[in-house]
Amino acid sequence: MSAVQLTPKDLKSDQEVRWCPGCGDYAILNATQAALAEIGVPREKMTIISGIGCSSRFPYYMGCYGFHGIHGRAAAIATGTKTANPDLSVWVVTGDGDAMSIGGNHLIHTMRRNVDLKILMFNNQIYGLTKGQYSPTSPAGLKTKTSPFGSVDLPFNPINLALGSGATFVARTVDTNPKHIKSTLLAAAAHKGVAFVEIWQNCVIFNDGAWKDWSTKDARAERTIDLQPGQPLVYGKDNEKGLRISGGEVEVVAAADADVWDPTTAAPLAYVMAYLDEREDLPHALGIFRQHDKPTYDAAVKEQVDALTAKKGKGDLKKLIYTKDAWQVG
């Protein structure tokens, strides 16, 4: 693929962007346009495929090919598109309800197959388009229109689900940090295989501040840690604190004693980082949890077709129909 240089403007469509003012989706859209402009893929080879929900209106605002699908099915549609033409750069945009509730089956199977898709899951812990019902990532106890006395559902941990499904690239970013979104998406684009990126997103109308304990600038420094390949596990305003994993436990240490993060490791450390979400005393992890190299589904399908075609010769319809056991009459 020749190196193509685009500007974010090239990736804007002529459609007016219509999310609620203050919605986290705007920042994600801008950062995505900035990232995709730099991945070296021409516009016509980029395809954005979405499901249903606020986030799924994303394709209309992108100046490339786009397919706004049906609820939960974006990953399946995208699997067909990518497998039919592996030359395309195919991005799935979905939300927590779309991907993890109605589309849960497609999501886990797409990840285990390692289809070379980039899946961006906007997690706002709420159903926004239908105006505020609890979602499969809402914390237990959340009061919504359908859980007026608090939700009794226990939520998914999206990162754990992705890791457990065998996704080869698993990352998390947040709508309040466009630079981090961009670098995360660039890493996802560079990964050959499925990339699952959870994006903490604020729904200003129906679940405002769901992430505020971790997502504001100050909170980020103290309460999140950025997992970056080859970088030490440090956090804090001045990166003064560090994490060390020993005996399956995570302990806070001085920055100098922190472990160095390696998302390519076969050791189950990514799961440990995902479980930080359940710890009040430890930072929640952002960044790249896992980055493994495995054969991709779309390439494997194509390889079989190519190999069999090379071995048997291009299929001849007449020979397929006129078989040896045919007989002649008259």
Binding site: S13, Q15, P42, R43, E44, K45, T47, I49, S50, I52, P59, Y60, M62, G63, C64, Y65, G66, F67, H68, G69, I70, R73, A76, I77, A78, T79, G80, T81, K82, T83, A84, N85, D87, L88, N105, H106, H109, V301, Q304, V305, A307, L308, T309, K311, K312, G313, K314, G315, L317, K318, L320, I321, Y322, T323, D325, A326, W327, Q328, V329, G330
Partner: protein, 614 residues
């Protein structure tokens, strides 16, 4: 000693045994050999409902019926002339269907006390008078096979598993068929297992020779080849296989590569299996996580420029419903194959019914029209699959192709198409940005197909209502009305490219029998015979296109005093026709027993209607 050979024109044999007895293989071998002899034929496999019903029980009985003839035939026959019963359960389940005076060959080796118990029989039907009036040939096939294979390195259990080839040999002798095709098949099948190949060959020959040696039969029969068969090249084909070949051909005739997104479901799975073999045709098959993913990948592949296709049966079609609506809204080509089976919910998965017509027509939210075609016979399934591809590509629309269990697993000789006479319908994928609009329309009202990867045509589609021409999302009331009408009219426009079907029989008559799908054979042979033998004033109209209905049907209906619509359902085509042609009266004749119509049932119904008794 020579045994007289009598000529017969038309024979029906039913092989029945335990699921483990290899009756389907026996039936298929007899079928392939019979095809090579040059008879016309039709088959009807009857699988047990339970996968592993206990051996020897009635629930575990597997059957295979073949009818072969010196003349053209349309069905697998109503009444077996010969029943081969490999055990007591197979006998008791099947003997009542046999023609009076017909031959019943029973394997006495499997009529022990225990076998009778498993078949829930208090007394042995071979001895208690049950079979009075039949010509019973009782042979201990277990013992004969064991004798024939004395000295074989196989275990005694494996030796007994060769008994189906012994029976096959015996039937080859009885109907004067050559052994060579099966001997060759065995050699290829067991190329790496010489012991098995040898044992089955020996069993086959022993069965054949026993006809001469043991004088169990008073005579042999022969069924000579069809004389006036249409000249051409023929092969034997089953319906699911024909659909697979038709889809490959259809894609090639459209200049596209085929993509199949599917999920295993009885009785459609064979299509996925056949297509998975054909990688060298560029066919991509994806076995997905569920029915919905099956169709959604196909839609995604069509979006990317392949010919997307999905295969399923009724319950799967129900699951695909919403995605079909998406394909209608995004106006992408897509072929949906529904191999119908019996009953709502899981129903009777291995039995036949044609009750998904109304689901195909109306089973979606809102007004969501699409073309529907149905195949009549296994060979017709090839042409119908090609036709489904043509309509999908030319009209940028999903198309439902209806087959059913009877067609899927039934076989018949297929007169192969002349390759240069197959229709060509190259898909027009646009590349020129000048004047491009995603929802502009051509003379057929089809929108242009612009696939990702084409520079300058970047656009967005989706399930939200589209603005006419631009394809932008639109909530405009007038636009929704217009787009709904355009979707309807586009599909109705398909009738401009389909022929008015031809009536078989008199141009005007007392009764017209209208059918669709796999009832074709029973209706055709029932009506022909009534005309031939009793000069009954009856004609047959078969509908391949169920939506839109062809032009000219109204004029046809007007020429007949009464119209009868037999269907394997509770009234679906009859309801459709009654709504579309309210000036005529359509009399429904339904059957929902998981079994096809017999020609006799059709004849009796016609007679009753004409006598004013129904």
């Amino acid at each position: 000693m020579s045994i007289a050979v009598t000529r017969q024109d038309d024979v029906v044999i039913r092989f029945a045994g335990d699921s483990g007895d290899g009756m389907q293989i026996t039936g298929n071998q007899f079928t392939d050999t019979t095809a090579l002899v040059g008879n016309d034929l039709a088959t009807f496999p009857d699988f047990p409902a339970e996968i592993r019903a206990p051996a020897g029980t009635r629930a575990g009985v597997s059957g295979f019926q073949i009818r072969f003839s010196s003349t053209d035939i349309y069905t697998a026959g109503d009444i077996p002339d010969v029943l081969v019963a490999m055990n007591a359960a197979a006998l008791i389940v099947n003997y009542k269907d046999v023609a009076p005076g017909g031959i019943i060959i029973a394997n006495t080796g499997n009529f022990t006390e225990r076998d009778l118990q498993k078949a829930k029989l208090a007394t042995n039907p071979l001895e208690d008078g049950t079979l009075d009036g039949y010509r019973v040939i009782a042979i201990d096939i277990n013992a004969r096979v064991t004798e024939a294979l004395a000295g074989s390195p196989l275990t005694s259990k494996d030796v007994l598993r060769c008994k189906n080839f012994y029976v096959l040999g015996l039937m080859y002798w009885l109907y004067s068929r050559p052994l060579e095709p099966t001997l060759e098949w065995l050699a290829a099948k067991f190329a790496k297992k010489q012991d098995l190949a040898d044992a089955n060959r020996t069993a086959l020959r022993a069965g054949y020779n026993s006809g001469d040696i043991h004088e169990v039969f008073q005579g042999r029969y022969e069924v000579v080849p069809v004389e006036n068969a249409l000249p051409g090249t023929y092969r034997n084909i089953m319906g699911n296989h024909a659909v697979a070949l038709g889809l490959v051909a259809g894609a090639e005739l459209a200049g596209l590569k085929l993509f199949l997104g599917s999920y295993p479901i009885t009785p459609a799975t064979d299509i996925l299996q056949h297509l998975a073999e054909l990688k060298e045709f560029g066919v991509i098959t994806c076995q997905m996580e569920d029915e919905i993913a099956g169709i959604c990948t196909a839609i995604g592949a069509s979006y990317a420029g392949m010919l997307g296709c999905t295969t399923t049966s009724g319950p799967g079609l129900a699951l695909k419903t919403e995605a079909i609506g998406l394909a209608i809204m995004t106006e992408l080509p897509l072929v949906i194959v529904d191999v119908q089976r019996a009953g709502p919910s899981t129903g009777l998965p291995t039995k036949v019914e044609q009750a998904d017509l109304l689901q195909s027509l109306f089973g979606r939210n809102s007004d969501a029209p699409l073309p529907i075609i149905a195949c009549a016979t296994p060979a017709d399934a090839f042409d119908c699959a090609v036709e489904a591809c043509r309509i999908a590509v030319q009209y940028m629309t999903p198309v439902i192709l209806l087959s059913d269990n009877y067609i899927a697993n039934g076989a018949e000789p297929w007169r192969l198409p002349e390759m240069d006479k197959l229709p060509h319908f190259p898909a027009a994928q646009v590349t020129d940005p000048a004047g491009y609009a995603p929802y502009a329309r051509d003379g057929k009202l089809a929108r242009p197909w612009a696939v990702p990867g084409t520079p300058g045509l970047e656009h967005r589609i989706g399930g939200l209502e589209k603005e006419h021409i631009t394809g932008n999302v639109s909530h405009n009331p007038e636009n929704h009305q217009l787009m709904s009408e355009l979707r309807r009219d586009k599909v109705l426009g398909v009738r401009d490219t389909i022929p008015t079907p031809e009536v078989s029989g008199p141009r005007e008559a007392d009764l017209l029998v209208v059918g669709w799908g796999s009832t074709y054979g029973a209706i055709r042979s029932g009506t022909e015979r009534l005309r031939r033998e009793r000069n009954v004033s009856v004609a047959h109209l078969h509908l391949r296109h169920l939506w839109p209905l062809a032009n000219g049907l109204d004029e046809i209906f007007a020429r007949y005093k009464q119209i009868l619509v037999p269907e394997l359902n509770m009234g679906q085509l009859s309801r459709l026709l009654q709504g579309e042609y309210p000036d005529h009266r359509f009399l429904h004749y339904g059957k929902v027993k998981g079994k096809p119509f017999t020609a006799r049932e059709i004849r009796e119904k016609i007679t009753a209607v004409l006598e004013g008794k129904s």
